[in-house]
Every structure is written in structure tokens, then in C-alpha cells.
Symmetry: C2
Subunit: 259 residues, 2 copies
DNA sequence: CACTGTGAAACGCTTCACAGCA
DNA sequence: TGCTGTGAAGCGTTTCACAGTG
């Protein structure tokens, strides 16, 4: 899960719960699809199904935005598209920079959904001088030296970090110092930022590990819940290899036993 | 945030809260770094800082796994690495397939953190016949026709979907039919899957939209909370362009006014 | 004495269930 | 009648604060 930190810590920012904000883009996408098919109205039930949530949640979410529906009828698709777009700040264009044009950075630069909805790639930035000037997704890659001037000249407030983990904090610091206040981090590191800067992270490895956890549970449940329980009681830890054998740089197995 | 659906709907799977599971990989990463620096023990305070959470949360999280710390001392790094790895199911290797070898799929295939922790790319699959056989990240791309046999032959239970949105559901259905029970979806679509299959999604566009929301709030707060509130009262909707002008396939602005 | 482990309180989110309106 | 909008209940998560212990 790519969860952000540094949200409004205490109070909700003007009444809309964070969980609701996170779902608005989902609704918007579903509504846009309906709009393209010229569907005039949707019920909460239909829209909820399209967005993959339940209808009570959807209605509650929309109630935070105001009363935009019609009882007995549903929601006006076009109107709702506009209201949600406005609420999300997508009626204006957001210039973004992508820092780190490796495989991932290039993929992001080429990602269409990027430009389609209020976001514009203002620049691609990479530390490798050999990359400088090379066109990626129609834009010339700029060198890191230009980072500050690019951000200031374009009024960029959103930065995407797609560098290796080792460079991420440093890039982050420079982005923030230059005026960026929202960061989407693809590097597998915890970024520390001053108050007022939002960070959201996307981490493939974490997502896979969460899936692995559930996958393991499924396998363990084959012999009933008892089997799954037994594999967690400490005793099976005895099957652990002896410490110090070393099958790689990754942490080995401990010699310690649980209490 | 890339949040999955189809978790255990009601009861927690054997006592560990979902929120805790989602943080275990974070702790594991921090612990691995400590392990590589041969640090023998950490306090909850230190580890929490490294993982970007607060220490009370971390202690509570670890308490679900068992009592693995020593009062007055802290946690044994190696031991904890092993316990968390085991809990996450990373002591075994998980073969994964990546479907859709475009920019993103290639980036994922090349992503190192992939292999480093319990995951092994069993195959890269693409629908484009021209891609077949081409090496990406050292593996030859296989054609979609082989999807079922690849999954069965390799005992793959985790699939990564990096196809265009339009192909995602179909690919998903085939993966599930062939035996995959966990899916990481990068395509901007809601996937529907049968019970027992876990889906987690990673969606760049949604993350950016959430950032834009907060970014907008920051800008609005310059003139105090009153200004931000005013911009949500419906009256400003009058500034909306007239519907029907059409600047593209994306939904335009509605002609309807709020109640 | 420092730090873990954990009840209990606080909080936010989800779900229920139905009043209210078109 | 059909569907929205919403109080209120229910749940899961976070935070507090301190008892327990090596």
C-alpha cells in the first residue's frame, strides 16, 4: 500500500476525511467512463459497483462534498465529474517533475494517465550527465544541476522521485528547498520532510510482501485453522537454519529462541 | 495509497491486524539495514524512527507477533528479521509472473528489490507477438498463449498486471483461472475477482490526485480557512465553463447547477 | 533504570438503518 | 415508490500511560 505520511496530523483538512479523499479519484474515473458513454445519471449502487466500493460508503463520501444527488433518481454524471474534479484541484494544471529517469522514471514519463487529468510533466531530471539532452517521452532529460531553476521557473509544487534509494533523501531535500510541497516517492526509503510537505510512497516490494503474507495464510489454512495457529507458536522456529551460515547479505536466521 | 480489496472481510486472519501487516515490510527493511551494519539490538524508539512510525505503534505491532524484545534493552535485530520474514512468508521463495511488458513491466522486471526478498520473476508475459523471445531483464518474454502453462509449471500464485487498463480484467481472469490467488494490479481499473483472491493496486494517477487535493488546500489556506471554505460552497461553480465545448474525450464541465 | 508489553481511552472509518425528499 | 442523505452503532486502529521486568 502506498500510504502517505505528513497528512494533516490532527484535524481533518476542512471536513473531508482522508479516506474519502483517497476514493474520490476512483469515483472520478468511474464517472468519466460513464460520461464518455453519455450516461446522464447514476445511482449510488451502480456507481459504487463501478468504483469497487459499497454504496453506503459512496453516499457518505459524497455527503461530505455536499448534496449533489437527487432522491429517487441518482447523481448527474457530468455535474459530479465537475464537482469532484474541482474538489481534487484538477480544474487547474499541476506541473510535475520526475527525478530519476531509469526504467521506472521513463515508464512514468510515458504513462498517459499522467497528462490526461490535470497533470503536466514539466521536466525529466536525471543525475547522469550521459542522459542529459536525451529525449524520453518527447522531453529532453535535464541534468540535476538544473533542478532548482526548473522548479522555480515552472512553479512546480509536485515532485516524483524515481531514483535509487540512496539518492532519494538528497533529491527530496533539494526539491523541498526549491519549493516543492508534495512528493510522490517510488524509492524504497523513508523520506523525512519538514512540516507542510506531503509525501506519498509507492513501494512494489512492500505490496508484494503483503500479498505473500496472505498467500502464506491461505496455504496454511488447508489443514484448518489449527494448523495455521501452530505455525506461529514459536515451537516451529526450531526448524530455523543455524545462524551464521550466510546465504547472502540479507539477515540470517537467529540463534535465539522465543521466550 | 495502493490498497487491496478482498482481504479477510470480517475477522482478522489469525490475530494480526491488517494495518500491522502492512507495516511489517517497513520494519523488515529498517532491520535489514541495521543487520547489514552489524547492529545487534535496537530500541523501539530507534527502529520506529528508521521505519517512519511512532514507537508505541511499533511496540503494539510487535506485540501481535509475540514478545520478541527484552525490557531495558530492546530487540535483537537478527532475531526480529527472522521472525518478521517468517511471519510474512518470506522464508520461502515466491515465483511471480509479470504480465504486460511495456515501459512499466520492463521497469518492474528490472527492479532489484524484487528478487532480493523472497520473490523470483518466473516469467515475463506479453500479448504482443513481436515481443516474444525478446530478452528483458535477462528473461525472454513469453507470449500470452503460454500464460496458463507457465503458471502451472512454475506453481505461480502471485501475478503482477502491468497491461493497459483495457486488457487487465481479462488477464486477471486468466491468471485466476490458472491458479493465481494474489494479484498486484498496476492497471488503472477495478478488478473483480472471486472470493479468496487478493488484489492490491498501485495507481500513480490516484496518488497524484490525492497530492493535488492537499496541494490545493495549502494554496487556499493562504488567506485563512474562510477562503478555503468559500471555495466549496457551490457559488464558485458558476465559474465553470459551459458544457459541450469539448476539449477532448475526457468529461467536460456540467451545465447543471447545485441545489 | 531503561525499555518493553499492554490495558484502556480516544479517534476515525465503515456500516446500518431509516427518515426525508423528488 | 425509489433513492439520497445522515444520525447512530459498530469496528479497527492509534495513542496514551504505566505496570512489569531484565
Amino acid at each position: 500500500m502506498a500510504t502517505g505520511r505528513t497528512h494533516r496530523p490532527a484535524t481533518r483538512s476542512r471536513g473531508i476525511p482522508e479516506a474519502t479523499v483517497a476514493r474520490l479519484p476512483l469515483y472520478l474515473r468511474a464517472l468519466t467512463a460513464l460520461s464518455e458513454r453519455s450516461v446522464p445519471t447514476v445511482s449510488s449502487e451502480e456507481l459504487a459497483a463501478a468504483a469497487g466500493v459499497n454504496s453506503a460508503k459512496l453516499r457518505k463520501d459524497f455527503s461530505y462534498l455536499g448534496s449533489y444527488g437527487t432522491r429517487g433518481v441518482g447523481y448527474d454524471v457530468e455535474y459530479l465529474v465537475y464537482q469532484i474534479s474541482r474538489e481534487l484541484g484538477l480544474t487547474q494544471d499541476w506541473p510535475v517533475v520526475i527525478v530519476g529517469i531509469g526504467n521506472l522514471g521513463a515508464a512514468l514519463a510515458n504513462y498517459g494517465g499522467f497528462a490526461s487529468r490535470g497533470f503536466r510533466v514539466a521536466a525529466l531530471i536525471d543525475a547522469d550527465p550521459a542522459m542529459a539532452g536525451k529525449p524520453v517521452a518527447g522531453l529532453p532529460v535535464r541534468h540535476t544541476d538544473e533542478l532548482e531553476s526548473i522548479i522555480r521557473d515552472n512553479g512546480v509544487s509536485i515532485g516524483v522521485i524515481a531514483t535509487p534509494a540512496g539518492a532519494a533523501q538528497q533529491v527530496c531535500d533539494r526539491l523541498v528547498a526549491a519549493g516543492v510541497t508534495s512528493i510522490l516517492n517510488f524509492a524504497p526509503t523513508v523520506l523525512s520532510v519538514p512540516d507542510g510537505v506531503d509525501v506519498r510512497k509507492v513501494d512494489l516490494s512492500i505490496e508484494l510482501q503483503i500479498l505473500a503474507f496472505h498467500e502464506q495464510r491461505k496455504a496454511g489454512e488447508e489443514s484448518g485453522p489449527a494448523a495455521a495457529a501452530a505455525s506461529r507458536t514459536g515451537a516451529p522456529a526450531r526448524t530455523a537454519p543455524v545462524a551464521g551460515s550466510g546465504k547472502g547479505p540479507e539477515g540470517d536466521v537467529p540463534a535465539v529462541m522465543p521466550a
